[in-house]
Symmetry: C2
Subunit: 399 residues, 2 copies
Amino acid sequence: MKETLEYIPAPELRQEMTLRLGRVAEAMTAAGMDALLIATNANLYYASGILFRGYVYLTREGRAVYFVIRPAGVHTAADVVEIRKPEMIPAELGRLGITPAATIGLELDVQSYSDIERLRRVFPTATIANASPLLRGCRQVKTPYEIDRMKEDGQHHVAVYRKIQRLYKRDMTDVEFQIAIEHELRSEGNLGFLRVAGQLMEINLGSVIAGDNADAPGPYDFTMGGAGVSPALPCGACGEIMRVGDTVMVDVNGCFNGYQTDMTRVWSIGEPSPLALKAHECSRRILRTLEKEAKPGVEVAELYRLAEAIVAEEGLEAYFMGHRQHASFIGHGIGIELNETPAVTARCRELLKENMTLALEPKFVIPGVGAVGVENTYVVRPDGLENITPFAEEMENLL
Amino acid sequence: MKETLEYIPAPELRQEMTLRLGRVAEAMTAAGMDALLIATNANLYYASGILFRGYVYLTREGRAVYFVIRPAGVHTAADVVEIRKPEMIPAELGRLGITPAATIGLELDVQSYSDIERLRRVFPTATIANASPLLRGCRQVKTPYEIDRMKEDGQHHVAVYRKIQRLYKRDMTDVEFQIAIEHELRSEGNLGFLRVAGQLMEINLGSVIAGDNADAPGPYDFTMGGAGVSPALPCGACGEIMRVGDTVMVDVNGCFNGYQTDMTRVWSIGEPSPLALKAHECSRRILRTLEKEAKPGVEVAELYRLAEAIVAEEGLEAYFMGHRQHASFIGHGIGIELNETPAVTARCRELLKENMTLALEPKFVIPGVGAVGVENTYVVRPDGLENITPFAEEMENLL
């Protein structure tokens, strides 16, 4: 039988976790936190390499204790402590000789108010600090191991995109096209699950948007909308037959190993309109520029400004990042979660760092035609961006 | 073009929303809340019939105002107010002649600590109460419209299960079998997205567990575990070839219209072991008993006790609800979310009410063989349970 959890972390990940948690501990010292209690899935996975129900307690000296509620009875490592509930943590810390923290960081941006109030009572004398921004910041810069996982993910992702042209059949609906693509994703090893940050973000395995549906504004903070097929998930493909003249934007997810890549390509049904083609090539021109200019030390907002300047030069402002409704970002951090920080907006004052990973997606919506533009996932390298979703970017004709 | 949101609620749902929100307003009066601000997806959908980014403000008199952040510019109804951020709500309420609430209910069990702190500053003079239990309670008892949606969902769900026997091919892995089933689900109209309560619960479109993998304990609060294929999602199918002698439990999701049904059937590869067969039939015997005994006014825990008594009579305690790790519940409420309340545990003192919807899933794990048992989704009627996922329950041989 396969075991889900024999060790936390797995023996082959011990060194990796030491590296990651060392970085987190450094940031804790800078932020004045004595300890940090991690309780939510993306951060648990970051801090342990596996999902379990429980907590990671980290001291500013970099010592980690893994408190496991579920599964029970399968852990042998010395720093793994089985508990039934968080109220048992302080006594166990005492037993391990760890002195009570004066300031403890909790994930205030992710955990529910009720959960935080419960933890506050678990540590009644501690000052509670918000550890969410700190953890988001640490996760922005990937370790070599994480970059390898993302590259591996990108290879699977590209392997699926290679098959998309062949999946199209005349008079297909957008949903039928998406189902065919999803089947290839799953067959390639996609987990069939998309880890997205924020309870207000919901999506299935991605977005396939054809024709006019690109201009249907959605409630979610994705770059593109789409009406969806149900008011319960108003997003993406709407179930209509894709018509000659439509562009079809495929932005389906890579999530093959717990890390993710994000990737968009566009196909046309018949010859694309000159405006759609111009906008699509403008997106590629923006990416080529950003690939050169995005280096460690550059302000994130500068990427947005560079993109905007190119769009203005080509007179395509009315269509950039939407037409009836505009997205305010052209990219985002990515890793364990699809939508990590930083968001690439006009106002983001953060500076790029080496080994940050970014998805960049300058897109356009052409009314009556559809969405166009390219998205790749990149690693920030000393001399620019490394594309880890390399695949032909030209708009191919599906007919 | 399809529009995502022209009206909130849609004209055909106005009466339905009046009914739902009238019930919520009644509960608010009983709980001493003057107003309630809904901000999370499942409750937004419940209160409006559509997903949007924003808030529903409800007074104890039953007046609802829909504050919409996204999408922008598409709402024409009189009680829909566009805002950019929640800080704009109090002034808009004043403009509408709604007096400030002394006590306001917020979703403390679902919204993040940071979001609640922000809303607290929006309503600085109000006492904040936890509206999560109130809303969970109201959503337990479905309206006739909601039951119709769930029955419709159940019909699609059953249509997919009808095809499962034909999808099996010799030497398939459990993942390949699941992918084939998912493809049928999506082709039948499944949204490809599963709304689950709680950020610690993660799953793709469901669980296909074959053989020994049923005994791999998982981190999540699902009834069954399974190792999964990745430590990033340690749950369900593990990628191994299904072998003669295995049982294969299929617990994949119905979510075709924003409401959900939950349904499990089991197949065997070759002849099942006598113990597996006995346990499977015991599950069916439990369901037949509960279908008769579960009536309005009966304590939820009584369902658990009835099941336990039957299991003890048949001497199957060691396998009930798991073998190495046991789940503490045999069913759960269901509707907009897969895992609603009440949880059917030994300790749940709540009483059944007419038109509650429950998924009941007495299951067993037989070591070396696999999981067995049946799950149906039911409506509580005056004289017992109505099964809305009717489909043959016998363990069929896939060979």
